[in-house]
């Protein structure tokens, strides 16, 4: 073999190790940054960055929760409708008492996540099947609750507005929640026993079970947390939009999965990090923002999103197979 190829390979492997396997995500982010720097410099205006990250933060929050579920080897496509259901419950309670409503929103997310987890672990029905079904159940339930009408979230609901539109030290609160959850989860995954068990469950369910890991409890907890975060995202999203409709959560399941996958999380479980998910969040937000500013229109944006998802997963698959 020529000396040159060996060196390139070593540089590549060095880089891959330094970025902890997130090389592909970094590369794509770099490409997007370069493209926007050259063609759409408006992206880098502080106001735009703040807006962009605030608007797309709910997606990142859901992705953080969903990443935990995917790491255990399951999947939850009902996150979008959990969002809708949480706000549907809220729509009924908003005029009574606002703090109570926020608690109710979180409780709905908690409960639906818990229900998903219990059903999956008790009946052993494959999670894809079950969450597809539960997605329709939650969505239909939400529509039945509000009779498919819109609920306006005006300035009267001061707490919601403060949370959704406010900032701490210049950082939008939704973004803060997103980054905080991702980093907190990453810390848990790396440093605590529970986190390590999540990885074990995802990598080899049966072996973990035989080693005494309580996989059912781990899965239920992950699903519950995912539901909770979906509710949080719903709250922050409707606060920003100023309204809560029955289409609130539409597309958020696919977005959350795309973000997780872009961050290097493998759908078969046990592989990936929350830092990667955070990176994926930044990448997808940047991409959507770029296309919005460039005026590319919704349709081209959809097509590009589709192509990018396939491309990224393909690249990750390539690198995974090269390693083994």
């Amino acid at each position: 073999m020529r000396k040159g190829t060996g060196q390139i390979k070593r540089v590549y492997q060095d880089l891959a190790e330094k970025t902890q396997g997130l090389l592909i995500s970094f590369l794509i982010l770099a490409v997007l940054l370069i493209i926007s720097a050259v063609f759409i410099p408006k992206v880098f205006q502080l106001k735009n960055l703040e807006n962009m990250l605030r608007t797309y933060a709910p997606g990142g929050i859901v992705a953080a929760g969903l990443s935990l579920v995917i790491l255990t080897g399951e999947i939850d496509v009902s996150v979008g409708t959990i969002m809708t259901l949480s706000m549907a419950v809220a729509a009924k309670l908003y005029d009574i008492n606002e703090p109570l409503t926020i608690v109710a929103i979180l409780a709905t997310g908690l409960f639906t996540g818990f229900l998903n987890g219990i059903l999956i672990t008790r009946t052993k029905v494959p999670s894809l099947m079950l969450t597809i079904g539960m997605s329709s159940v939650y969505g239909g339930l939400a529509s039945i609750l509000v009779k498919a009408q819109k609920k306006y979230i005006t300035e009267v609901y001061s707490l919601t507005n403060l949370l959704a539109k406010g900032s701490i030290l210049g950082i939008p609160i939704p973004l803060f929640v997103c980054v905080f959850s991702a980093i907190a989860f990453e810390f848990m995954l790396r440093k605590t026993a529970f986190g390590k068990r999540i990885y074990y469950t995802g990598m080899n369910k049966r072996a973990s079970w035989m080693s005494g890991v309580n996989i059912n409890r781990i899965k239920v907890i992950c699903f519950t947390v995912c539901g909770l975060l979906s509710a949080v995202a719903a709250l922050l999203l409707s606060g920003q939009l100023g309204s809560a409709t029955v289409q609130l959560g539409d597309g958020y399941d696919v977005t959350a999965i795309s973000i997780s996958v872009l961050g290097g999380i493998s759908l078969s479980g046990g592989v990936g990090t929350l830092v990667g998910t955070l990176l994926g969040f930044v990448t997808i937000s940047l991409m959507q923002n770029m296309m919005a500013i460039a005026g590319l229109g919704n349709y081209v944006s959809i097509t590009l999103k589709g192509v990018m998802i396939i491309l990224v997963v393909f690249l990750y698959g390539l690198s995974a197979r090269k390693r083994t």
Partner: protein
């Protein structure tokens, strides 16, 4: 006691009969010709898509792009024909939103485009090693986007195309909708293929345990791609039925049909990991969904009520099928994790 056993074995027929009874109870005009036609037409559509989805599921993959592909393929076909025609010096074949070309050209090109989409799906999933869930969702977005870009969201009308209403609207021997008869032919064909031929054996082996199948010399890659291609062809057929029946080609029609097809497959007991389930159950499931859908719209359930009910049935049937499967595993002393 024997009744319970019969009920458990023929769960789907039971569900169909119960729903039909419910239909008659809630709607005095349930057995009117028009209503039966609607049910049969819906069964044909749901059924063809469900068979497409079931075939892909049987080999252990999944295809979430069938809904959007069925709607976009005819549109792409028409625009492609138009483009080729203008290149060859002919005139515009789409004037004022009305399509003016031969029906058979549309049929040919739609089948071609849909099959090519199937090939692309298969190659991405099998050769690209991209998880089918991600790959077909990506394709769903891509196809949807391309459809919008090409058609700019405007519908096309088929009314000036001769023979276009035959497939969707006409009746076979003036009795039964033609599309339903064609669906039955397709269903019987694939049921025979999967149950009584080597084709079926290979399909079930590939899905049941890909590694074992490979070691037995079955080219699992080729079979998986083959299923995606067949699914593509069936999707093209469904698209043509849509276009023919509605006499229009509208890309903005949000279908959600892939979810229904998946629901039917789940209700029919087709396992998501492959290798389990029978196509005849898919046909029964399609009939069940069609009747259920009809009953619900007659009762006045709005679309969100219907998604709720569909979701409940998915969960219910998934649990029922899983319980019987768990029983079988317990008898084999396999502890489930």
């Amino acid at each position: 006691m024997k009744l319970r056993k019969i009920l458990r074995q023929e769960l789907l027929w039971g569900a169909v009969i119960l729903t039909v009874l419910l239909g008659r109870l809630t709607n005095p005009y349930f057995f009117v010709n028009n209503n039966i036609d609607v049910i049969l037409y819906t069964t044909a559509i749901y059924g063809t898509l469900a068979i497409a989805e079931s075939l892909v599921l049987l080999v252990g993959e999944i295809d979430l792009s069938i809904g959007i592909s069925s709607v976009v393929s005819p549109a792409l076909a028409i625009y492609l024909a138009n483009w080729i025609n203008t290149l060859a010096g002919g005139g515009n074949m789409v004037r004022g939103g009305y399509v003016m070309m031969s029906w058979w050209v549309i049929v040919g090109l739609t089948m071609l485009i849909a099959t090519v989409t199937g090939i692309i799906n298969g190659i991405i999933v099998v050769k690209g090693h991209v998880p089918p869930f991600v790959a077909t969702i990506g394709m769903q977005y891509t196809v949807s986007g391309i459809g919008y870009i090409v058609t700019k969201g405007t519908p096309l009308f088929m009314t000036r195309v001769e023979n276009s209403e035959v497939l969707g609207g006409s009746k076979f021997m003036n009795l039964v909708p033609l599309c339903f008869v064609l669906f039955l032919v397709i269903a019987v064909f694939f049921i025979y293929l999967t149950t009584s031929t080597k084709f079926g054996m290979r399909v079930y082996s590939t899905g049941g345990s890909t590694k074992s199948a490979k070691m037995c010399g079955i080219n699992t890659d080729r079979w998986k791609i083959f299923m995606y291609v067949i699914a593509g062809a069936l999707v093209g057929f469904t698209g043509l039925v849509f276009v023919s029946k509605l006499q229009s080609c509208d890309v903005t029609q949000t279908t959600g049909y892939e979810m229904t097809a998946l629901a039917i497959a789940i209700i029919a007991g087709i396992e998501l990991n492959g290798g389990g389930g029978r196509l005849i159950d898919t046909v029964k499931g399609a009939l069940f969904m069609a009747v259920l859908s009809n009953v619900m719209s007659n009762v006045g359930f709005l679309s969100y009520h219907r998604t709720f009910v569909t979701g409940l049935f998915i969960v219910l049937f998934a649990i029922i099928h899983k319980l019987s499967d768990s029983k079988r595993l317990r008898e084999l002393n396999v502890v489930e994790v």
